[in-house]
Symmetry: C2
Subunit: 254 residues, 2 copies
């Protein structure tokens, strides 16, 4: 299968794939707010392709779970994604989003966590496991580690862990978060991740490793989040020539 | 399955998942450069968990395709990811990465592409389809649309489309790229995407929609990239309180 070129691909498949991308972008933009897609005939005319190509593109969207088709009635948008502004560091805000604490317990730091947090191996750190919910629907599962003193402040009575995580962290720290170094991957759900996120096994997920740094350059959180691919999209702006105005702290550079 | 809580999850499954995250982060950091993972006994001692938990974590990693186990010999890292610096706008550089042009042809702009590029519906735009290769391995497939004049300059003789895309674009434009607005999702491979990326169907992919803006605020490219989840990770730094120093151009804000 390696190195297949266009010669190996059906011409209609190529057109269907291109149309699928355009239609799914429209769906994500909420261009079909009533939830009904235009008819096959209309889509074919509008995009200058055959009805067979439209049918194939809609089949790809249905397979992805973004639309459903009712024979003789039409095609409906069945799922929207929650866009998350990824430019600025913040938790999801508003719209029924809250965080459930699944676990909060001191654990000894392994080598990786110790190195990330600037602690010694075996030092106690706080393991924090949270689930981001959109009303009753899980959006994300976070397993993170915080330095002992930060963790202790988070465990004090009156600290609300269900709202904006960074506001809460800054309140507990008494300092500002400078930013987050993150690595984003695409993976499949498996094991208890599938169970906790309410998705089948082998469901697409965004896996985000993140290192949160405060303005003094100290790492105040390190860990992993798994975000449901069918429910979340990450929006961000990247500049091309702004290295000097948006410096990466030395703590996470390199 | 919805709203399962920890009570529904086996305690060992939770520990195995947490250990899996730490081990996969070590693999991505290349902490096991010889490609051999420590023994189960060593991993159990190092992480303070049972050998059964280690076995379950390694099984999750194997299922993900990051390690392989040889009975009686050990566990080996079989796949590394290519990290892509996502902070600054650039193509992959060095290390045998190049771009293959799969298609380059004028097409009439549909409503979405016309709106994105600031063109009229039906205006000719350039469809550009490229595949990012790491030597003989496909990393990503890009289907993008460029304004007609930009497209014409890219098609002039002597323009090398196989190297850094943004350098090439700036050379052709005679202006600088200001940045890129992108939306990142996790999806599964299907249809000819799987064929062209050399992966099975239902393989995890990063789907990136991007809008490239030059320093005058003009959109000079709009389109979609699919990046192999097993091969690519996106690294980026996000600031928390730097809105003023890293402004998002009006063309893509909101």
């Amino acid at each position: 299968m390696r190195n297949a070129s266009f010669s190996a691909v059906n011409r209609r498949a190529i057109s269907a794939r291109r149309l699928r991308d355009l239609l799914r972008a429209e769906i994500l933009r909420n261009d079909h707010p009533q939830g009904t897609m235009p008819s096959e005939t209309e889509l074919a005319a509008r995009h200058g392709v055959s009805r067979n190509t439209v049918r194939e593109a809609l089949a790809l969207l249905r397979r992805e779970g973004l639309v459903d088709r009712v024979q003789g009635v039409g095609t409906f948008v069945v799922r929207h994604k929650t866009p998350h502004q990824f430019d600025q560091v913040q938790s999801w805000r508003g719209g029924g989003v809250h965080h459930e604490v699944l676990a909060m317990e001191p654990v000894p730091a392994g080598a990786l966590v110790a190195a990330a947090l600037g602690a010694e191996e075996g030092d106690p750190v706080l393991l924090l496991e949270r689930r981001t919910m959109l009303e009753a629907t899980p959006l994300a599962l976070w397993t993170t580690y915080l330095p002992e003193d930060v963790g202790q402040r988070l465990q004090e009575p009156g600290v609300d862990l269900s709202g904006d995580f960074y506001d809460m962290l800054e309140g507990a720290l008494g300092t500002h978060v400078a930013g987050v170094q993150s690595t984003t991957e695409a993976v499949l759900s498996d094991g208890d991740v599938a169970l906790l996120l309410g998705v089948p096994e082998s469901w697409p997920l965004l896996l985000v490793e993140r290192t949160v740094v405060d303005v003094s350059g100290r790492v105040v959180e390190f860990g992993f989040g798994r975000l449901r691919g069918d429910r979340v999209s990450l929006k961000s702006w990247r500049g091309r020539r702004e290295t000097r105005s948006c410096p990466v702290p030395r703590a996470v550079a390199g």
